[in-house]
Symmetry: C2
């Protein structure tokens, strides 16, 4: 396989920013930007919806059939899609050729640095996971340097097994910590034992793949995955990740909420109980201090991190009274905080990930009841609560979506750099 792409570490929303604006107004859009936008619109549709007929694409994008045919020609040349010989009937007219995304046209090495495990996967345009590895690791024992080496060791075989014509578009990294979006810098990741770690740069150098490395918070990427893959059609959703602490990823009107530097969503450190537990952050009564893993284990009379949570699931399933009460009380605090998020964000859906997804059957009643007591009528009635359908892999899938968003923002840039690298014999 060939590694390609510009090493510039740009954010996920390049196209939106170009069309979006700056401090005192939107920018204008020139003709070349329009073409880029429309290429991206067609590619995004295929990436998210899978195989479609040309005429369905025209309807979905609002572009006419000849424009769509022209854009598909460009995307085919870029190797990002393939137009099959098959056709689908398309209403009264003639049958329309079927088009689909080409996973090898833009493949991502997705990495998740989780509390209790390290995961890597290769994921192509269209969302197909070609290979995936997850290894359990003791908590907070590995330096950034060791972690970089471990990622390289795990990733090697996955990358080697990709089809020869695969184009690697980038590396996406989900980090359980406060991560600056512009350069993938981890300010603090207490469960990894890290502070001030330029993890994206370290992986860029350590992996030596010659492609951009983008890193972001795992809850933010869980939200991205649920939005792009788990719950298509939901424009406003919140992903609440229960690892040791609580993180929230927020999608607002189909757009990830980043805030000024990408730190948005630190719901775990919102004050919910001034008389509550001390939090690892130094404050008292944070949401995660009341509803997080340590509060759960304490109430259940256990310790031991992930093993403890598995024990709780077993005991709850066996009907152990103290465990069931402990989970119910955690569910109550979880629901109170979810109520706060519903009042603040007016979402259609709150998705529970991490340990809350695994415990959902035992949490559900308490969560829903507590959230109900806190939400105002109109936003409360609009919001559903559900466990993550993507399960443990949501942040990993989101890490791939982070990089693929850049491909969609400017399809010619990534594939264009690929053509150069092929001529030069690789990165």
């Amino acid at each position: 396989m060939h590694s390609v792409g510009s090493p510039t570490n740009i954010g996920p929303d390049a196209a939106d920013v170009a069309i979006g604006g700056d401090d005192t107004g939107r920018r204008g859009v020139a003709a070349d930007e329009l073409r880029r936008h429309n290429l991206g619109a067609v590619l995004e549709r295929l990436h998210r919806s899978g195989p479609m007929s040309r005429s369905e694409l025209a309807t979905a994008t609002g572009l006419n059939r000849s424009t769509v045919a022209d854009l598909l020609g460009v995307l085919t040349e870029l190797g990002l899609i393939e137009q099959g010989p098959d056709t689908m009937p398309s209403g009264p007219g003639r049958p329309s050729p079927v088009v689909q995304p080409r996973p090898e046209g833009a493949t991502v090495l997705a990495v998740e640095l989780a509390v209790d495990s390290l995961a890597v996967a290769t994921i192509g345009l269209g969302g197909a996971v070609s290979n995936q590895l997850r290894v359990a690791r003791p908590r907070a024992r590995f330096s950034p340097e060791e972690t970089t080496q471990d990622v390289a060791k795990l990733a090697g075989p996955l990358l080697d097994s990709l089809p020869m014509d695969s184009v690697l578009a980038g590396v996406g990294v989900a980090v359980v910590g406060l991560t600056r979006r512009s350069d993938g810098f981890v300010h603090i990741a207490p469960n990894l034992g890290w502070r001030e770690v330029p993890i994206a740069t370290m992986l860029e150098v350590g992996l030596g793949l010659g492609v951009p490395v983008l890193a972001a918070n795992e809850a933010d990427l869980g939200a991205l995955a649920e939005h792009r893959r788990g719950h298509a059609g939901v424009r406003n959703l919140i992903y609440v990740s229960g690892e040791v602490g609580i993180g929230a990823g927020v999608i607002v009107d189909d757009t990830p909420l980043l805030g000024s530097a990408g730190y948005a969503g630190e719901a775990g450190h919102t004050l919910i109980n001034p008389e509550g537990h001390a939090c690892r952050c130094g404050a008292v009564g944070c949401w995660e201090a009341e509803a997080g893993e340590s509060a759960l284990l304490e109430r259940a009379g256990l310790d031991g991190g992930i093993a403890g949570v598995e024990e709780i699931i077993a005991r709850a399933a066996a009907g152990d009274r103290r465990t069931i009460e402990a989970v119910g009380e955690i569910g109550r605090w979880l629901g109170l905080g979810i109520g706060n998020l519903i009042n603040l964000f007016n979402p259609e859906l709150v998705v529970l990930g991490g340990m809350y997804q695994r415990l959902y059957a035992f949490l559900e009643a308490a969560v829903v009841e507590a959230a109900r007591t806190r939400t105002l009528g109109a936003p409360g009635r609009m919001a559903a609560i559900a466990p993550s359908g993507l399960g443990q892999d949501a942040p990993l899938i989101g890490a791939a979506e982070l990089v693929l968003s850049n491909v969609i923002a400017d399809p010619a840039r990534v594939a264009g750099a690929g053509a150069r690298a092929l001529a030069g014999g690789g990165a």
Copy 2:
């Protein structure tokens, strides 16, 4: 003057949605949409920045000078701008003509339904307030019907005094209550004593102006005003409005946070103290129950709404110890909640409006200190806290911006309807 415009009550972000997307991907953009977008980009720049030279406009919008000249020709024909005979020097080239927005080209009747007052103003493109009236009213005494009549009475003279060639683009209404954005329906406005009131429709019928009436929550519109007029250049800001309760308006990456139906920002009803005061919403320990007007008056040993707050300002200024302690304690709770918002939204700026703006000198130290104790390091260092520079009128100015956003989204639509109305002798 002539009343014009389509009566369709559409949201403020029509252009963004058209370019934005739907459930499974962005829409494509056809050539006519591109032109509309670029017309809007030029108009928005002039609306927000005021008079500029053509060459400055080209630089600011990223469009070339001939495209800008063409777009300015269209906007001039639509009556939305005027190109003066004056010129500005523009670097090494020849002097460039000065262009400015034409307030009469799109004028808004802005209305604010506040807790203790009713205000109306006429505000034109470019943001100039041509006339304004505010009358004090006792709380929760006026039905929607009486309010509609009062607005009509106050608005009449303002509209009559507009220049003859003014084009009324719409009516914008700021409501101190939970308001659905799509149709300006007020679910609940406890301080007006209203429930389930279709206020936008009532004003559309009652005023009989033949223009769209858009209504939204006053804190959301305060945020819009601070973003468009008060603090240009800040992309992520939160406006915290202290009336009887607390409302928050949030701007995320230059875009108002609405949520699924426009109810986002109900920060006043987030749980902050489970052992705290009962809230008017029926729950306990809401942020506004701890930091709102009634908590302040109770701690200061006063009652009486707005008169009470004025008394508190007078006593605090005179150095009254109990009052100063009461304000400090309210400031502490206010700051704790602001810390929550900073962790959730990672903004550059939190603006305090309403009673918090009037009390700011006495609140500041406690607010800043309490917020500091709650914020994580990285987002905390990035966020400033400041009193509203627009003062009491922020929501009223935001109500005008709400309507003007629609004009900017599609400049030809409003002005085009205007031309028809002129031919037909008014609406």
